[in-house]
């Protein structure tokens, strides 16, 4: 296939555009990475675009790892991610299994009940009062239980379960298998791709969420990492982290600490990302086929 002159020029411009997009997307992260390894005073003198760390100093990272709030936040987030994702997965799988059964009497009613919540919801304040009433205020359960099922994910999983041939299940039923056996021994093992997508979506969601913690948690020692990050990055309170540093160094280190905090908190996602992104994309495709 021969390409005309115009097409070749366009192809060249297109490649430049795409490289530009990659630079614009990646550079903010690279800047943060370089700044985090920079020597604080050298960083403040040498401002502007960084193409490498200005000087080299690990004290910002040392300050992060010495900081009890960040470490506690990390620990809390890991717990919330593990527990939250486990709850999500069990509840979503059960729900999807029930909804994928053919000829269940209340099926349509149940589905209607569930889909209605996608278009109408009580909103923040009634949910807040409910969580309060249930005694979950200021506990981690407030972050995990009210979001136990994401309805969109439930529907994706149900669609995937429906593609499993009914004959497999029938023969298992002949052998005396009950519903739980069928779910765990037949349906789930045959749905590993969609399960992987669900784990990733739920886990990333828990890792990144801050709003429900902001609303429901009072004690700072229960704060997830993102809420600690918010205090450091947005409210700009790095002072507590530099106890011991000489006062004129404080401002300087305060700057680089922000960057090392970003790196430390985002590292797990960035590291896992290359391995996981195909699953993320697959999930969108499963959703798209349905939608």
């Amino acid at each position: 296939m021969k390409r005309t002159m115009g097409e070749r020029v366009f192809g060249g411009i297109n490649v430049i555009l795409m490289i530009g997009l990659c630079v614009v997307t990646l550079y903010p992260f690279l800047y943060v990475l370089f700044a985090s390894f920079s020597d604080a005073t050298a960083f403040l003198q040498n401002r502007g675009l960084l193409l490498a760390p200005a000087g080299f100093d690990l004290s910002a990272y040392k300050a992060v790892f010495r900081n009890p709030m960040i470490m506690k936040g990390y620990e809390n987030t890991l717990l919330y991610v593990l527990l939250g994702t486990a709850i999500n997965l069990v509840m979503t799988a059960i729900g999807a299994y029930v909804l994928s059964r053919p000829n269940l009497y209340f099926q349509h009613f149940l589905m209607f009940l569930i889909v209605l919540t996608m278009v109408f919801h009580g909103g923040l304040i009634p949910s807040y009062l409910l969580v309060n009433k249930l005694g979950m205020m200021n506990t981690m359960w407030a972050l995990l239980i009210p979001v136990a099922i994401n309805t969109y994910n439930l529907i994706i999983m149900r669609t995937s379960f429906q593609t499993i041939p009914a004959s497999l299940e029938e023969s298992a039923r002949m052998d005396g298998a009950g519903e739980w056996t069928i779910l765990f021994r037949i349906v789930l093992p045959l749905s590993m791709p969609v399960i992987a997508v669900m784990i990733l979506w739920y886990a990333v969601g828990h890792w990144n969420s801050y709003f429900s913690a902001l609303v429901y948690l009072r004690d700072t020692e229960k704060y997830p990492l993102q809420l600690v990050l918010r205090d450091i990055l947005i409210a700009n309170s790095t002072d507590s982290m530099m106890t011991g540093a000489a006062s004129d160094d404080k401002y300087a280190i305060g700057e680089t600490i922000k960057y090392s905090t970003i790196i430390v908190s985002t590292l797990p996602i960035i590291c896992l990302y290359p391995f996981l992104q195909k699953y993320f994309v697959k999930g969108v495709m499963i959703g798209a086929i349905k939608g």
């Binding site: 997009l21 990646l26 923040l124 009634p126 890792w207 990144n208 990050l229 985002t266 495709m285």
Partner: protein, 310 residues
């Protein structure tokens, strides 16, 4: 419904169905309980929008006050500001973010080298997975008076601008950072639609002498049009809702005039200042408008194509 329950034949069917599938019914219980408590519970709680809620009296025991809270919201000084800010943020997102994803998908489709294409795609999805706190934190840092952006502008002799402290910049920053974070992810669905286009259509177009440009215009674009229309309509159904998460991180009292949206107002008044009934009314108003918009959007979507939400 109630007429049917008295029907003995139907009662018999339900009974045998339950007996035969009792395991499934048992499994449905936790899921049903979850939806009733955590989704329908708050809907029940919405009645406080028509009451003067006192925590000591409970939701049911508080006194009815009719539309008092709605009236004070509609007549309040912030009503139009909140509506304008909410709608404008959505409108700008629709004007810039929506076409950006389509254009990116079309450009990616023109890349012939598949390894390069994959790399660009992977990089462009990345920001979608970065937490909003980190994105907002980077913005606060880069856009501060001494931040990277002002240093770069300064080298062109431009005076430093306190971007996040000035109301005039908020919408631009909110929408452009949204495009930065979401354009790659948004393009996936269009790329999927493009890959679903029948390749013989391209062949036929080539035989008719169409170049890449004409193929894009006459084959690719019509091929993804149903996807575009559906997503467009769905987004229009969302016109009255802006999530509070990102705005809460980026706004401050200086920029409330352009940045304060319904959801952040509800958060401030409700959670921080504890005017529960008033903010429940504000939230209910927002939910009803959104509901109407989504139902209308779904109706239109049904007319345009087979695809619908429900």
């Amino acid at each position: 419904m109630s007429k049917n329950v008295g029907n003995p034949a139907l009662r018999h069917t339900i009974k045998t169905d339950m007996k035969r599938h009792w395991g499934v019914y048992l499994m449905a219980l936790p899921v049903l309980a979850y939806y009733i408590i955590f989704h329908y519970g708050p809907m029940y709680g919405l009645q406080i929008a028509f009451k003067d809620f006192q925590p000591s009296d409970g939701i049911w025991g508080s006194t009815w006050v009719g539309f008092k809270h709605f009236e004070s919201f509609f007549n309040g000084i912030y009503f139009w500001r909140l509506i304008t800010n909410t709608v404008l943020l959505n409108l700008y997102e629709l004007l810039f973010g929506f076409p950006a994803a389509i254009i990116l998908a079309l450009l990616l489709n023109e890349i012939l080298k598949s390894s390069f294409k994959r790399i660009v795609q992977s990089i462009s999805y990345l920001p979608h997975f970065i937490s909003i706190v980190v994105v907002a934190g980077m913005m606060v840092d880069f856009l501060s008076r001494t931040g990277l952006v002002n240093q770069l502008l300064g080298s062109f002799g431009i005076q430093p601008i306190d971007f996040l402290m000035e109301e005039g910049w908020f919408r631009f920053l909110y929408v452009s950072s949204g495009v930065w974070q979401g354009v790659g992810w948004g393009s996936i669905i269009y790329l999927a639609a493009i890959s679903g286009i029948d390749p013989t259509l391209y062949e036929a177009a080539r035989i008719d002498g169409a170049g890449r440009w004409r193929q894009t215009l006459n084959v690719t674009l019509p091929g993804i049009m149903p996807t575009i229309i559906i997503l467009l309509i769905l987004q229009m159904g969302n016109m009255m809702s802006v999530g509070s998460e990102k705005v809460l991180l980026l706004y401050n009292p200086l920029t409330y005039s352009t940045a304060d949206v319904i959801s952040t107002y509800v958060y401030r008044k409700g959670v921080l200042e504890a005017s529960y009934s008033f903010t429940a009314a504000v939230g209910l108003f927002n939910s009803i408008i959104s509901f109407i918009l989504i139902v209308a959007a779904n109706k239109i979507s049904k007319r345009f194509s087979e695809t619908k939400l429900w």
